[in-house]
């Protein structure tokens, strides 16, 4: 009896593999085992039903790429933290101050950059920082623009303002992409899309934090993000009508990610949180 049962398990596995590999169909494998067809059919049908629903549990478009970057960033931060020596008691005061400064080197440099850029902005309106506002990816001044944005991000306090900022930056990336398309600079578009995805993902994570504290505020932010993305999707759909195949592929990615996020917002953020 046990042997017969074991044989059925093996045959079931064999049938599943044949169907999965496209070597046969449900009816095909059942025809190969007419004596066991009655036992096999329910299990095979259940397996097919299950597999048919698999796509409903797929991640939203753009998630894997964006989260991959986030994970690698965290890993790199951890590696960096490991390589920095711990302060040693009794060291001279200047050495300890230097350790503190180098331990937060990025923050110190960012702050220094902010002061320099603020000075440039204040001292010479119409100067470099001002000019950088119109810079596009690939331009010489684009790094200045991004540094200013990073500084703004550093000094923005509170989850809601942070989410709002990320939505604005995501929108800015999309308008930059439209300018790049107008200037036929397609080579700079992929990395700008990646930056757009990062802003959107950061916005979502800030919005989750807001949702847990203030659902009304979160709803306003979600509506704002949906409105921005829907408007941009409309623009990109129009651009796609006249686009080359290469450009269309890039636009498709933007539209896919935007629509995925609009759907996610409706599904998860807009509705009240379900607690177990």
């Amino acid at each position: 009896m046990a042997e017969q049962s074991d044989a059925i398990e093996m045959i079931l596995q064999d049938c599943l593999e044949k169907i999965q590999n496209g070597q046969s169909t449900l009816e095909g494998v059942l025809a190969e085992h007419p004596d066991l067809a009655e036992d096999l059919r329910p299990s095979l049908e259940a397996a097919l039903w299950f597999r048919m629903h698999r796509a409903t549990l797929d991640p939203r478009p753009g998630f894997v790429a964006a989260s991959n970057r986030r994970v690698l960033e965290k890993i790199q931060q951890e590696q960096l933290a490991k390589t920095q020596p711990a302060p040693v008691a009794g060291e001279n005061i200047f050495a300890r101050i230097w350790q503190v400064l180098t331990g937060q080197r990025q923050l110190v440099f960012q702050a220094a950059l902010v002061f320099v850029l603020l000075f440039v902005m204040v001292a010479g309106s119409g100067g470099i920082a001002y000019a950088a506002q119109d810079a596009l990816p690939g331009d010489l001044l684009y790094r200045v623009k991004i540094s200013l944005e990073n500084a703004e991000e550093t000094f923005t306090q509170g989850e809601a303002p942070k989410a709002d900022l990320q939505i604005r930056l995501a929108q800015r990336r999309l308008t930059e992409i439209q300018s790049l398309i107008a200037h036929e600079r397609l080579g700079d578009i992929p990395k700008t899309i990646t930056m757009f995805e990062d802003h959107i993902n950061r916005a979502i994570h800030h919005m989750i934090a807001v949702r847990d504290l203030d659902q009304d505020r979160a709803a306003v932010l979600v509506a704002s993000m949906q409105s921005v993305l829907q408007e941009q999707v409309g623009i990109f759909n129009q651009l796609a009508e006249h686009a080359s195949p290469t450009l269309r592929e890039l636009i498709d990615r933007i539209v896919l990610v935007s629509n995925g996020v609009i759907g996610l917002a409706s599904e998860t953020l807009w509705t009240p949180v379900r607690r177990a």
Partner: protein, 208 residues
């Protein structure tokens, strides 16, 4: 690249190879090569493993938690745990995929401890239909289908649910599933058969 080059690879070669992975003539990099490289500290190799398996891990987690964002956070957490434990990983013991899903199961258990398990024994009729337009990225039909799948899973015994999710959503082989669940491949085949029968009976019941 020749085999001996693979054996004597250095970071520079690997990074170049990984950057060029989209080119058709670059051979598929096997998991164990990526793992070895990641163990040597190459984050780019680990990123490739992430791209390769994040979908499967996500599906496994999303099948067990009740919202997408928790599944997203958990997916990242799983891979961070994998990275941190890489120095202790020895391939001879457990294949990478089984190792990855063991960590995913542990992360899920920790998640349950923090927030409690998902609701069980919920009828599909009791589930709220999402308000508003789900948007073109997610149709109302796919949303309902997902709920239908989730309700079916929640009605199954824990080991039935695990074997079905690992086998049909995360696409693990019976051998890999056995490694994750700590059973023999034969026991997994038996469990799979029983789980499918139970699922079929339940679907019949729901349709009636």
């Amino acid at each position: 690249l020749h085999d001996e080059d693979y054996e004597n690879r250095n970071k520079y070669v690997w990074n170049t190879l990984l950057r060029l992975r989209w080119m058709a003539d670059v051979p598929v990099v096997e998991d164990h090569h990526l793992l070895k490289s990641a163990q040597d500290g190459n984050t780019e190799a680990f990123g490739m493993l992430y791209e390769r398996y994040a979908n499967r891990v996500f599906r496994f987690l999303f099948a067990h938690v009740d919202n997408r964002l928790d599944a997203e956070d958990l997916t990242e957490d799983v891979f961070l745990r994998v990275w941190r434990s890489l120095p202790n990983y020895r391939e001879q013991g457990v294949p990478f995929l089984a190792y990855l899903f063991r960590i995913a199961r542990n992360a899920l258990i920790d998640h349950y401890r923090r927030s409690g398990p998902v609701k069980s024994q919920v009828s599909i009729e009791d589930l709220p239909i999402p308000d508003g337009d789900p948007g073109p990225g997610e149709s109302a039909i796919s949303s309902l289908e997902r709920e239908e799948l989730r309700v079916s899973l929640e009605q199954l015994r824990e080991d039935y649910r695990t074997v079905l999710v690992l086998r049909f959503l995360s696409e693990l082989s019976p051998e890999e599933t056995a490694q994750v669940m700590g059973r023999t491949p034969g026991a997994v085949r038996v469990l799979q058969h029983r789980a499918l029968s139970a699922l079929r009976s339940m679907l019949d019941g729901n349709l009636r």
